[in-house]
Amino acid sequence: MNYPAIKAIYIFEMSRMRRTLFQSIVSPVISTTLYFVVFGAAIGSRITEIDGVSYGSFIVPGLIMLSILTESVSNASFGIYFPKFSGSIYEVLSAPISYIEITIGYVGAAASKSIIVGSIILLTANLFVPIQIAHPIWMITFLILTAISFSLLGFILGIWADNWEKLAIAPTLIITPLAFLGGSFYSITMLPPFWQKITLLNPVVYLISGFRWSFYENADVSVYVSVGMIGLFLLICLMLVWFIFKTGYRLRV
């Protein structure tokens, strides 16, 4: 293992966050506050409780997941797309570093960033509503697995994208809708039976459900199904990355 290389990539990627520290911290705080104002206050006055949890508290895990997903995908895709775009990728390709090390460096940094943002949201939310974490270990496990999986997805996306448009399209067209429809702001048991079935095709449902269970012990699907699904998703992403590097797809000509 070329540890100095992993460290170099990791530090390099994290330093981008440091350069935009204000934005990185302030924007999740602001958006969380807005969600609480809009959803918590406006909708929360109508839906007072879901499964015995106040609406404001209920949406916290979903909010965190929502930003973990979008932050992971956008950080990781940008992290690898930009050097490809600017040409500075030559250095990574010519370095004595394996595919695994490249992936650990970039994906590790992107996942770290989104976990930091997730934690900031958790802390901010804690100012507005009471939060209880029934299973902290599970909570952290879900957080980390989700961050890694979606960072891998973003990484794949960044390698696949050959223009800025493609880079922007997946987060806005796929990730955000899936996250919104994945039960961030409601329990899927509130939907008509037909839509409940459809919703189960959305992988994000399992993430949010499992994550919420680690907080309030209530879930739309079994927690083991949730873990299984995220494991499966992680595996698929890992296989895609393996394929990309094995073939040199879009990185080496």
């Binding site: 070329n2 100095p4 290389a5 460290k7 170099a8 990539i9 530090i11 390099f12 330093s15 981008r16 350069r19 930009f82 050097p83 600017s86 040409g87 500075s88 030559y90 250095e91 990574v92 390709l93 010519s94 370095a95 004595p96 570093i97 394996s98 040199g248 080496r252 000509v253």
Partner: protein, 311 residues
């Protein structure tokens, strides 16, 4: 040169890009340890492709490359950690500082951070005052020096400079050659590409010429210079000659321009060649109406080589 002295061995290396374009055709080349090798060739000849294949940026399908006895595909960790690359295009993370980007390169190539060493290269490349500047705020020439600093950051044994002097002013160019000479002193092998033949003349030990993906010449620069030290006497004949008379065969002469011009090639410091050939011509009764002499430049040799291969 024996195998012992060579640090890079390229065998039957070919490259066909995904679009079907063949950029390299069976290249065979040995680079000697510690030499400065200049790769010359027109635009699109395949210089960058060749370098990128050695460095791991372009995939190798046909042929093989070994660096210090290690295969660049199988033993990529060993070979790549020995190599530093200065790419042709000015590419860098624009928002990073000079210090940050050079340190990044060092880490990427598996070396522990060494602030003294990084300080040394930044000073050698006159970048020390700019160490905290972001790349964005540097001039083009400075950016190129940052790329050189990045390539040197991990103390490579071999360095590739892909057109290091494109867009660099004369003064800076001299500084850069000074750095290159310094590296050679330290035993670093240097391979550079350039369009400027004078540069190759000035600095290289050996010169390779590549055109349309084929290596058409590899020669010691000094023996090339010898060819360079030749002059041509152009004799414009009154009447075309059908064949070169037998008595002229001892001289290096050739006919051109519909046999109306006789060209005699001779050594610059040969004092008697010209007078003896002219005497011979008069004794043979071959009339001429004009004479012209010129020196061949490496440029001409180059163009000539390229054309000869084409036809």
């Amino acid at each position: 040169m024996s195998i012992m002295d060579s640090i890079i061995q390229i065998k039957n290396l070919s490259k066909t890009y995904a679009d079907g374009f063949q950029a390299l055709n069976s290249i065979n080349l040995d680079i000697n340890k510690g030499e400065i090798f200049a790769l010359l060739g027109p635009n699109g000849a395949g210089k960058t492709t060749l370098i990128n294949m050695i460095c791991g940026i372009v995939n190798i399908q046909d042929g093989m490359v070994s660096v210090d006895g290690h295969d660049v595909v199988r033993d990529y960790r060993k070979t790549r950690s020995m190599i530093g690359l200065v790419p042709q295009e000015l590419t860098s993370e624009t928002f990073e500082t000079v210090w940050g980007t050079v340190s990044f390169s060092r880490g990427l190539f598996g070396k522990k951070q060494d602030t003294l060493y990084v300080e040394k290269i930044l000073k050698a490349l006159s970048l020390w005052e700019k160490k905290d500047n972001t790349i964005l705020t540097l001039s083009g020439g400075m950016k190129r020096r940052v790329l050189i600093a990045k390539a040197l950051a991990h103390e490579p044994k071999i360095i590739f400079l892909d057109e290091p002097t494109a867009g660099v002013d004369v003064e800076l160019r001299q500084d850069m050659w000074e750095v290159v000479r310094q590296l050679k002193e330290e035993g670093v092998t240097i391979i550079l590409t350039t369009h400027y033949i004078e540069e190759a003349e000035q600095i290289a030990d050996r010169v390779g010429v590549i055109n349309h993906g084929e290596l058409i010449l590899v020669q010691e620069k000094n023996s090339l210079m010898l060819e360079l030290g030749q002059k041509h006497l152009q004799i414009n004949l009154v009447n075309p000659l059908k064949v070169i008379p037998a008595s002229l065969m001892d001289f290096r002469v050739e006919l051109s321009a519909c046999n109306k011009i006789l060209i005699y090639t001779y050594d610059k410091n040969d004092d008697f060649g010209v007078s003896s050939i002219l005497e011979l011509l008069s004794s043979l009764g071959i009339a001429y109406h004009d004479l012209d002499t010129k020196e061949s430049s490496l440029e001409e040799i180059f163009v000539d080589l390229v054309n000869r291969k084409l036809t």
